[in-house]
Symmetry: C2
Subunit: 330 residues, 2 copies
Amino acid sequence: MRILVLGGAGMLGVKLAERLAHDGVLAGEEVSELLLADVVEPSRPAAARFGVEPVVADVAEEGIAGELVASRPDVVFHLAAVVSGAAEADFESGYRTNLDGTRELLEAIRRIGRGYRPRVVFTSTIAVFGAPFPEVIGDDQCLTPLTSYGTQKAIAELLLSDYSRRGFLDGVGIRLPTICVRPGKPNRAASGFFSSIIREPLNGEEAVLPVPEETRHWHASPRSAVGFMLHAATLDTGALGDRRCLTMPGVSVTVAEQIEALRRVAGDEAVRLIRREPDETTMRIVAGWPRAFDPRRALSLGFQADADFDEIVRVHVEDELDEKVLAPPG
Amino acid sequence: MRILVLGGAGMLGVKLAERLAHDGVLAGEEVSELLLADVVEPSRPAAARFGVEPVVADVAEEGIAGELVASRPDVVFHLAAVVSGAAEADFESGYRTNLDGTRELLEAIRRIGRGYRPRVVFTSTIAVFGAPFPEVIGDDQCLTPLTSYGTQKAIAELLLSDYSRRGFLDGVGIRLPTICVRPGKPNRAASGFFSSIIREPLNGEEAVLPVPEETRHWHASPRSAVGFMLHAATLDTGALGDRRCLTMPGVSVTVAEQIEALRRVAGDEAVRLIRREPDETTMRIVAGWPRAFDPRRALSLGFQADADFDEIVRVHVEDELDEKVLAPPG
């Protein structure tokens, strides 16, 4: 089992590689080789029992995709992307990586031909949907992105489905919820506060909450996201028919519910570190975001979300803080 | 008012040019120049009171789109496409014209910049939708194409909306019904019989009906299609918001109803020329096609369909047969 991960240096790429190294198998087959590609050098996961090759490569550059798939990997995880804010700030860069890069990859696979038909797992996003939408969004929601990033991901979804239908590859697109709690430093993404208000207090640091506590959103832990990818790599795609892209399950909670989950895990002291500082711009952006989904198709296909937001907080404590956390209330 | 038509040699391109030549104005402004581009030489519409320049040009070829928009046309009609059957038969050719060609055009417009923001009317298709769908399809139907052609058109719709949202152009995408009655010779398109069973009997020739008479489909006359384009070129796009693509109104009829309309216009003698010859392949393809739409957005924006299928037959007689037709029954 040869595996290629595009975007192997990103937060989810690193976690996926670590999980593969830990498991050593995928779809019941031993992993023999892992190629990790990204525009910056991916790190090697610790203790892999198989060959790992980190490569610095830009898939949007002509010819690069062909080199990356030349060894005919059985599974390709395509996570490489210019993220939402950056794709909005730099129009050309977003289209280059998110559209051209994806197309280069799909074309490189198609051109190999001779029966080569790898599983391609593509991480899409709930940003393919744009307001107005219903309070709970079903699997038949139309694609109406309101950002260039969402547009590029929606286009990639359409390509993935068509290339699959034509038999060039065996694609599964998974629309990830907002990942929470993102490890690492605060970033400038409009969605950053959803993670900040949990992550910073758990570190004994102050966090800013720019929206009202009634704000509802759709979340999944990084661990769940990796679980989605692995499940997408192994499921029987016969059940998908021609609709290859799926909204992933998640946890729909208000900010108030997030805060109560934090309180249960880390106590009042942690919650006191959240400072309310309403920000009109952030509020306006977030008002256009989905609040909840009814992802029946994904659930019926066996994708599993976190049980609740408490679990999302605990996953962060376990995976990022070595289970060290402020003592919960007595 | 300078106008560019891409696909100016196609059936609808020719009719659009003739109508522009006849009207002499668009959106209340006098037409000063009409550039007709296509991969084969477009013919000049008769009696235009403005300059007409036919150009042989392939918009998918690098640099060509830039030349076509260099004169900064106020309105661009983008009709150029590799059609459904051809895009399915030749994967690369379909993507080249329908995706790359569209992107080259949008990029060429964006690169001009300096306040240049033309109205771009893009002819999309009901093939952006794929079964399963409801009996009557609403404006919120998700994009689930089941052909490469439908995929390419859906992608072009997404690009048009994003380029419009970013302010690079002012796009309107119109999803045309199946055009009926298509003038000219029978072709090999699976949908060809919808026109054949009207057109051939009106010419005193036999036509083959490969599907049951209960088969229901969604139609518009060529004259209506041109009307949609002109309305799309002139409407206030403020009312569209960020959803720039619209399902056009049409006439939903069964084949039996088509035949009765033919009988009313041309009598029993014409109807007797329709020969039933059921074809499994055609039946299977057509079973996956939309039967009816509820195009409220387009209607509320003033787009007008043919009144009924009788009108569709009469339009063909008036526009293609110089009103000569077999005598209707006494």
